[in-house]
């Protein structure tokens, strides 16, 4: 039974898409799957995909729950910039990382909470509510850094972006752990079901006695928290906070990752691991185009083509068409319903 569930999970179009993209990468660059061990960690293009894909994966983990409630969070890119700016300014003025990191995470949590308040208590549509912070947040980050790129040499913070644990890049470890912890948190508790219920029918959820406000506050706060983690990863990676560019447009990649992972923008059923797979599909394409030597301008065009393909494969219409093509038309003999 378990094995069957696993096989059917692996047969989802997302995995096929990821495999196909990786295969094309291998055709373009035969050394793609080569992994080497050096200086106590693994190196290779595959690791690169995981490492570069980690920030979007981390964002997508948070955004998945938001989208499952029929919302959306456009502000996560800006929140990344805020958290990076907070951490960078603090450590560059002598505050230990042990304080700067929790403060940066708290900043993200507050940003998310703010979104949650706008959505639940003021009843503003999520796309507008989070647009406010998408625009204002980047300004806020620029105010924190006073308009310049704040660099630092704090070892702990740069370890988050560039270090390695068990031979794996730190961002990958963080994204993986976050994925596992979050998945357990939503599936071993009732949170997952309640989030889906609110996403499917908020009014019915209210009638069934679900406190959707608390749930929405939690979900948006968590998205802000994840964005703050991603912000730390990116800041640590470049050892600096660039309020203008950190996380720029990544909210869109994160939303795309969630949709590729099969969560509908109309809310309802969601899967956090599949969103992470979605993020990896996006990064595998980015990396493939880079290493193939095409000019990066192709990136966006190829990306959109692949995305259209994956979305078509996921659409119910395509599913019906395929099943009609590949199953016998004559129905089996009628049995009485007794």
């Amino acid at each position: 039974m378990k094995r069957q569930a696993l096989t059917s999970a692996l047969l989802r179009p997302q995995f096929a898409a990821l495999a196909a993209v990786l295969f094309i990468n291998w055709l373009l660059f035969p050394g793609f799957f080569t992994v080497t061990w050096q200086d106590g960690r693994f190196f290779g293009s595959l690791l690169d995909v995981l490492n570069r894909g980690a920030p979007v994966a981390i964002l997508a983990i948070g955004v998945t729950a938001v989208i499952a409630t029929k919302g959306v969070d456009l502000s996560v890119g800006a929140v990344m910039a805020i958290s990076g700016a907070v951490a960078a300014v603090m450590v560059s003025t002598g505050t230990p990382a042990a304080i700067a990191i929790p403060v940066a995470l708290l900043a993200g949590l507050i940003c998310g909470f703010w979104n949650g308040v706008l959505v639940t208590y003021l009843d503003i549509q999520p796309i507008i509510a989070t647009l406010v912070l998408m625009v204002a947040g980047r300004g806020l980050a620029q105010l924190i850094t006073e308009g310049s790129i704040v660099t630092f040499s704090d070892p702990v913070l740069s370890y988050i972006g560039t270090g390695a644990l068990f031979g794996l890049p730190m961002p990958v470890v963080i994204a993986f752990v976050l994925m596992i912890v979050t998945t357990i948190a939503v599936r071993r508790t009732a949170l997952g079901l309640l989030i889906e219920a609110v996403g499917v029918n908020r009014s019915a959820a209210r009638f069934a006695g679900i406190s959707s406000r608390l749930l929405l506050l939690l979900v948006y706060s968590f998205a802000g928290f994840c964005a703050a983690i991603a912000g730390l990863v990116v800041a640590g990676d470049i050892r600096g906070a660039d309020a203008n560019n950190a996380g720029l447009w990544l909210e869109l990649d994160a939303i795309l990752a969630v949709v590729l992972g099969g969560t509908s923008l109309l809310g309802g059923r969601f899967s956090i691991p599949m969103s992470v797979v979605g993020a990896l599909i996006i990064q595998a394409m980015n990396t493939g185009i880079l290493i193939s030597g095409f000019s990066p301008q192709f990136n966006l065009v190829v990306k959109s083509a692949v995305i259209i393909l994956i979305l078509v494969l996921q659409s119910p219409q395509a599913g019906q068409w395929l099943s009609r093509r590949f199953t016998p038309l004559t129905p089996p003999p009628k049995r009485s319903a007794k």
Binding site: T189, L194, A204, R206, F207, G209, S211, R335
Partner: protein
């Protein structure tokens, strides 16, 4: 106009197969020009499948469709509409935020030099509405009018676009009696204009009021077509159910002595502009029926009790202790349950499974961290699904695929799984077929015997009379009467609703 004996639209030997299920098996159906032809059957009988085939939404797997005697094939509803077959559904699918005129002419606006001629639309629309006996401002938003007017606008649009056959799919489900009469006037005038009208409804009296012939389906089979002048209601019901219903809910009068102690009391509960303060106590093992017209405040009363709307005065007392009910979560905590009137909007989680729909309120009560294990969920869902005879292929299928009656039972199961002390049912039998209807009435009686306090809002007086220990009557957002014992008859209730002294006129 076609000869009255020759059908304008005819279906011969229609077969439709879904997977292994024969939804329609060799069904013949014909509607003549200038007749109203009712299509009846329990949910799952194949009514909607047949309609969808006649209007091009589905393709038949066998059989022919003839329009004015010539074989046709409709590729989609637009194609059918172009050929003269228009449809109006229960939920008006027009644009509520656009004007009546725009809705009437949407997609075929008269233009000059590529610009829409607004004035011409307005005058034409006003003239058109006048032919339907409606003198309304066609420039006002459609949504600002009652559902009845919206229905008539939808009918006018459908007739303008098609003009030979009009399909009315449960158009009266959300209308009150006056509105139904108005709608029927429109239907009769269209009939006089020579349209063939197919009328689908759950209300037998409406079938007899407006239709000429009736076709009855059961389990995808044609049971028969009859002239309504030659059959009685009992015969029609027998054909639909394939058995004598023997009026299952003409139960013996409710035993007043069987009820237990007071469970819930609402004292002076009210909200300005919604419901005037009312006081009501419910005993264990008692059903209190609520009668009143649409808009009389009956649903608003239930919403206050359950905390969907917050009361601005009065208090709620459960088992002798005052409790705070400011939102549904607190109501659930106090042991209340509420099956709302609008199942689709406020009741079911369409995408979620039957199992999840049943356990969701219990899970919400248990909180975030005490998740019901999958085995427990299966056990609870299985128990209540058996108990209420919920017919679903399995409990993991999305609840939106079930029929209306089964969806209602799922919501009922959701509350029973919560072990409530007080259950509010708002129009529990609206829009569900006769068989499921009788089952719900039986369930209400059973729950009363098991000691629940129930408040049942219904506009079907026969039904209210059959299960209520007491009946409260709402009028103009006030509780105006409380009827006991021998006073619980349709005649007395109608008199109370109408604020007349009792007359002996027969009801219905």
């Amino acid at each position: 106009m076609t000869d009255a004996a020759h059908p304008v639209l005819e279906a011969r030997g229609i077969v439709k197969i879904f997977g292994q299920h024969r939804a329609l098996d060799g069904v013949n159906f014909a509607v003549r020009a200038g007749e109203v032809h009712a299509l009846l059957g329990e949910n799952g009988a194949g009514k909607s499948t047949l309609i969808k085939i006649l209007t091009g939404a589905y393709q038949p797997d066998g059989g022919d469709i003839l329009l004015e005697g010539a074989p046709v094939r409709f590729t989609d509803p637009l194609n059918a509409q172009g050929s003269g077959i228009g449809t109006v559904y229960q939920e008006v699918n027009l644009l509520p935020n656009r004007s009546v005129a725009e809705n009437l002419f949407l997609g075929r606006q008269p233009t000059r030099f590529g610009l829409v001629q607004r004035k011409s639309i307005v005058t034409q629309a006003a003239a058109l509405m006048a032919t339907y006996g409606l003198d309304i401002d066609v420039r006002a938003e459609l949504g600002s009018y009652s559902v009845a007017v919206q229905q008539i606008v939808a009918i006018a649009r459908a007739v303008e676009l098609s003009g030979k056959v009009l399909v009315l799919d449960e158009p009266t489900a959300s209308l009150d009696r006056n509105e139904v009469d108005k709608l029927f006037d429109v239907v009769r005038s269209l009939k006089a204009r020579g349209l063939g009208i197919i009328f689908i409804t759950h209300f037998l009296d409406q079938v007899f009021a407006v239709s000429d012939r009736v076709t009855i389906l059961r389990n995808g089979q044609l049971i028969g077509t009859r002239d309504l002048s030659t059959v009685t209601a009992t015969e029609v019901v027998r054909m639909m159910l394939g058995k004598d219903l023997a009026y299952a809910h003409a139960a013996p009068p409710v035993d007043e002595a069987a009820k237990g102690p007071v469970k819930v009391t609402f004292t002076g509960l009210g909200r300005a502009g919604r419901v005037a303060p009312f006081t009501l106590s419910l005993h264990a093992g008692e059903v209190v029926g609520v009668a009143g017209l649409l808009g009389s405040g009956r649903t608003e009363m239930a919403r206050l009790m359950f905390g969907v709307d917050t009361a601005d005065e009065g208090e709620t007392i459960v088992d002798g202790r005052p409790v705070r009910v400011r939102n549904p979560a607190q109501a659930v905590a106090a042991g209340f349950g509420f099956c709302p009137e609008d199942r689709k909007l406020d009741g079911i989680f369409g995408e979620l499974s039957v199992r999840e729909n049943i356990i969701i309120a219990l899970q919400a009560k248990l909180g975030w961290f005490r998740a019901l294990h999958r085995d427990e969920q299966d056990e609870i869902a299985g128990r209540y699904a058996d108990d209420l005879d919920i017919r679903a292929a399995n409990h993991d299928m999305p609840v939106k695929l079930l029929s209306g009656g089964n969806q209602q039972k799922v919501i009922l199961a959701r509350w029973l799984a919560n072990d409530p002390t007080f259950l509010i049912l708002d129009e529990p039998t609206r829009g569900i077929d006769v068989g499921a209807h009788a089952e719900i009435v039986r369930t209400i009686n059973r729950l009363r015997e098991e000691g629940l306090a129930l408040l049942v809002i219904s506009s079907e007086l026969d039904e209210v009379v059959a299960y209520s220990n007491r009946v409260v009557v709402m009028r103009d957002r006030k509780m105006v009467a409380e009827l006991h014992g021998a006073d619980i008859t349709p005649a007395v209730i109608v008199a109370a609703i109408a604020d007349n002294t009792l007359t002996t006129e027969p009801v219905t």
